[in-house]
Amino acid sequence: MSLGKLLERLIQLIPVLLGVSLIVFVMLALTPGDPVQIMVGEQAITPEQEAELRRDLGLDRPMVERFFLFIANAVQFDFGQSFYHGRPVADVIAERLPATIELSLVALIVALATAIPLGVLAAIRKNSIFDRLATVGSLLGVSLPGFWFGILLIMLFAVHLQILPVSGRIGYASEVPTVTGFLLIDTLLAGDFAAFGEALRYLILPAITLGLPMTAILMRVTRASMLEVMRQDYITFAEAKGLSHRRVIFRHALKNALIPTVSVAAIETGSLLGGNMIVETVFGWPGLGRLVVESIFLRNYPLVQAAVLLYAITYVLLNFVADILYTVLNPRVKL
């Protein structure tokens, strides 16, 4: 991992972020609906008040000027005030971000922890009953609409069995001092294991709902790449060396087979982060996705712009992580 390559990556980030900002800007500009009118709603407002509000929001300036103003401020990490919250956009986003990241990471871990073993098992027992079940299961996984599946889970585990909570992040008996914003970490830092368990309980259903499609995808990728790898000469050669089956599978096959899995996982994590407003809505999870969708509907321009920028940065960084993992796993590639 050379410094030069890192720098190159960072430089590549710039056109992507500019492009993303521009697209969001143009998209919002072309979208009918006036933030001032939405804000005022049914209330009475005089034209003077309206003009003043427009000025307060910075909407009186021409579009092009607003775009460059946004870029100039964004460079200094100033994303402006959220139209509705009376606070800086950065604060509002920062409050919601840890919940989204925590849920996504747990979903990712759940997905990896189930997808890789299942995918490997399905590949080495190709065409067995297990393989077929796993394949059908993974297809089911990608075919289930999340909002539907989530509500089914709530019905079963929360309403009928009453063993898991319906919604939210943690109960109200626990008061955990916020350090990182990640409840699983904060509870441990506070040494409150009961609260940790509780936070975990709240995470189970949303993490499963969110992680299921990813599990299915990763399982298919793992299985396919494992099958591909198992056909390679070096596996035959490893077997000819008289190595144990275990070693052939784990040391020789898996290390190569995981390369695509890891890449796909890194990319899919981006979609976990950005694609979970459905799960957030169903499980009342206080994450960013829901906020962004609301903000689109409310034409809360500064928040939408900042959030999309954040998503884009995350995406690029995740790709970066994927690249690093790729080098770790695949010595042929040097960054």
């Binding site: 077997e239 000819a240 190595l243 070693r247 042929r332």
Partner: protein
């Protein structure tokens, strides 16, 4: 010389989508200790599958269905998977056609060498550090043996950091790490430049002499066989069609297929004469009728060839699968 490997009436079949493929159809062969046997045939003749069967490495949907494989007095087909695994790499080793694909790209050369020793060498000390040192010393020794300069440093490198010839040597070093009694070298030179081919073959011959191991050299290059092998076995469409001492088979082939093979190689002695390729193609191995398999391409074919043809003695130590072998002398 005592017999090291004796295969009799081996059948290996593949359940392909088009039907049952008899990739190895009644092959019998012997390899003596220290001997070098050349196995010649076109792609699809069954020569590689025969020795995969010997090593117990036939993959599904393939299956050894019949026959005995005696190695060092034991029938390998009766062994458990674990016993078979213990023999692979320790007693019978194999090298593959292309070291680039045979070596795991994600592991260092050192690790790929060490793991064979780890798997088989019972003489290694048990203490962690001592064991590691011993393995390292052995690895260095093996790389030295196959002629890799500054072996210690190169153990930490990955296969892609070596040249083609070097990789081939590494693969051979890995195969030979446990001093096997039999080395199956599957097309060891096909993937190499001509200049390096000779070096690698010399290396194999040289080590064979030093370690006293037997070698099976699978190739489609009769020139290689002529130079390095004591005996040769020619395969066609899953069957052995001719076998015997190398010089005799090459000097006076007694199967039309062998003759065809020889006629298609450019040889200095025959300069000026046109090369004559064998016409036609290898038959589809699905649902073959019991008759001479070379019949469709054979210049000597006659109506009576449409029967099942057995192997017959064709002189001392020589056998051939041709009805008209007497006429060929």
């Amino acid at each position: 010389m005592t017999v090291l490997l004796e295969v009799s009436n081996l059948h290996t079949e593949f359940h392909a989508r088009a039907g049952l493929v008899r990739a190895v159809d009644g092959v019998s062969l012997k390899v003596s200790r220290g001997e070098c046997l050349g196995v010649v045939g076109e792609s699809g003749s069954g020569k590689s599958v025969t020795f995969s069967s010997v090593m117990g490495l036939v993959r599904s949907p393939g299956q050894v269905t019949q026959g005995a494989i005696f190695f060092d007095g034991r029938n390998l087909r009766d062994l458990s998977r674990e016993e078979m695994r213990a023999i692979r790499g320790r007693d019978i080793a194999m090298t593959m056609q292309d070291a680039l694909t045979a070596l795991n790209p994600a592991l260092t050369v050192g690790e790929q060498l060490a793991e064979v020793l780890e798997a088989h060498d019972e003489t290694l000390p048990t203490g962690r550090t001592a064991r590691r040192t011993a393995i390292r010393d052995r690895s260095v020794e093996m790389l030295g043996l196959v002629g890799i300069p500054s072996p210690e440093a190169r153990l930490r490198q990955y296969p892609h950091e070596f040249s083609g010839g070097m990789r081939q040597r590494i693969m051979i070093a890995i195969a030979l790490a446990c001093r096997p009694k039999l080395l199956i070298a599957d097309e060891p030179t096909t993937a190499l430049d001509v200049t390096i081919q000779a070096q690698v073959l010399e290396l194999i011959s040289d080590i064979r002499a030093r370690l006293g191991m037997a070698v099976v050299l699978i190739t489609h290059d009769l020139g290689v066989v002529a130079e390095h092998c004591d005996r040769v076995m020619v395969m066609y469409a899953g069957q052995v069609v001719e076998e015997g001492p190398t010089d005799q088979v090459i000097g006076a082939p007694c199967h039309p297929y062998t003759r065809g093979l020889l006629a298609s190689i450019p040889r200095p002695a025959l300069r000026g004469q046109p090369l004559t390729p064998i016409m036609g193609q290898v038959p589809d191995l699905v649902g073959l009728p019991p008759q001479c398999r070379f019949h469709s391409r054979c210049p000597l074919a006659q109506p009576q060839c449409l029967v099942e043809v057995p192997m017959r003695d064709a002189g001392p130590g020589r056998r051939s699968r041709c009805l008209r072998l007497e006429e060929m002398a």
